[in-house]
Symmetry: C2
Subunit: 263 residues, 2 copies
């Protein structure tokens, strides 16, 4: 997982969650508005991010699979890794089809998946030893704890059990990461204590309001990718959107680095 | 949810999980091989099924979104409901995008979703009161119990907790169903005891080897959709595939009805 942070002094992962309603008119009139928008964002921020994270629903809802393909090709041509946020979860043969979608069709370097169906549902992704697989552990949404914080008979919470399995049994190829909401510093600290140096993908900075200082302190001790999407890509909805995105990305990167500890 | 079973004396839900490698050569050479294959299956089985269940990964892996759209249009023109099996699960704004993908873009009448992220992640689907929402509860795969059967502090297993919440708090629009593997009759019986008449989607008959008699006994007392995919659509991989699919679908429907209790 080191490749996400090796070439740039940045832990920032910029989420590409396009929304036609929030783009300037001249972009919306393009033949490929989503790709045009993404390309401008990427060109303005490529030196500030350790990877890009397109969220697939934002393309699927618009019937814009081809623009997702174009976006990923453009990012990869710059030598920047692509984390495709899809949160898939299904049984055997179907999971193999989803892995084919994400890794073969789209060429993702890493993906997000859901653990509810157990290890055999995750093997088609984990078997790709050269790919990063970020498993949902404790999510950033208000109701994330509804199931994830349930207390088990053995005294662990469900998300702690997931963290424990993820960094041991499920990590047979050494390619597991975990998704942990930056909005939950207490749970984040607990998870870091369980998983050692395992890389954590931390959404919640920006629009969701996570405190960067608390997050960096709680997550210290291992790999971190700090994901931010809307607060960067929609920093302005006007013609200056790319420059505005760069300004917010720069400030976010620097704020993260301010609290970064030597690792 | 009654519409799935109102017009035909069948609880069978035929899964459309196309795989180009298992289609006859003449189908593979068509401009739209997946749609051509599906159309032949649908024409041969339309009087035997209460709904069709396309599994979206099988289209996404092949870049065949347009053929999924064509398939769904064809089914709906026959007046048959479409359950789009996608097992999505994501936070707020992204869940809204997934709901737009499934309901607006594809026009699904019902979907499958994953509960791991809690109620607020499911509301964008559940808010569609006219749509069926089947929530994963106890899945049919060998490792399905790894998380789902974890014992909670309160003496319930995780899948029992999901069943309880699903038929109460989460069912505020009366449109919740549950996905329960037909391969697990003990868990199925337990779930039926919790959820009353809630409709259960039961995969596992056919290739996965569930016992129909055990399933029908364990699931009695409420709505059931019995899903079977590969054993029907790939009953033959030769030119007679559609007729072979009809024969297996007929036998499956009749076996289910043999054990069906008056409701």
């Amino acid at each position: 997982m080191a490749k996400y942070q090796s070439s740039k002094s940045s832990l920032l992962c910029i989420g590409l969650d396009p929304d036609l309603k929030r783009m300037p008119d001249n972009i919306r009139r393009e033949q490929y508005p989503i790709f045009t928008f993404n390309k401008a964002i990427i060109e303005a921020t490529q030196d500030l991010t350790c990877c890009y994270k397109p969220q697939i629903a934002h393309y699927a809802a618009a019937g814009a699979e081809s623009e997702l393909e174009m976006t990923i090709e453009f990012i990869k041509a710059l030598g920047i890794p692509v984390l495709l946020d899809a949160k898939r979860g299904d049984v055997g043969g179907t999971a193999t089809m989803y892995a084919a979608e994400l890794f073969d069709r789209y060429g993702a370097d890493a993906v997000t998946i859901n653990p509810y169906l157990g290890l055999d549902s995750m093997e088609p992704y984990l078997d790709h030893a050269d790919k990063g697989v970020f498993i949902l552990c404790r999510t950033s949404n208000p109701g994330g704890g509804e199931l994830q914080n349930l207390m088990l008979e053995n005294g662990s919470r469900l998300f702690e059990h997931v963290a424990q399995e993820a960094c041991t049994t499920w990590n047979y190829n050494g390619n597991v990461g975990l998704v942990v909401g930056a909005t939950r510093p207490n749970e984040l600290q607990r998870i870091r204590g369980i998983v050692g140096q395992t890389t954590l993908l931390l959404p919640g900075v920006g629009s969701q309001g996570a405190d960067v200082s608390q997050m960096m302190s709680a997550g210290a001790g291992g790999g971190m990718l700090v994901s931010s999407s809307r607060s960067i890509i929609f920093a302005s909805e006007g013609a200056d959107f790319a420059n505005a995105a760069r300004e917010v990305a720069l400030a976010t990167r620097d704020e993260i680095n301010q609290y970064r500890q030597a690792t």
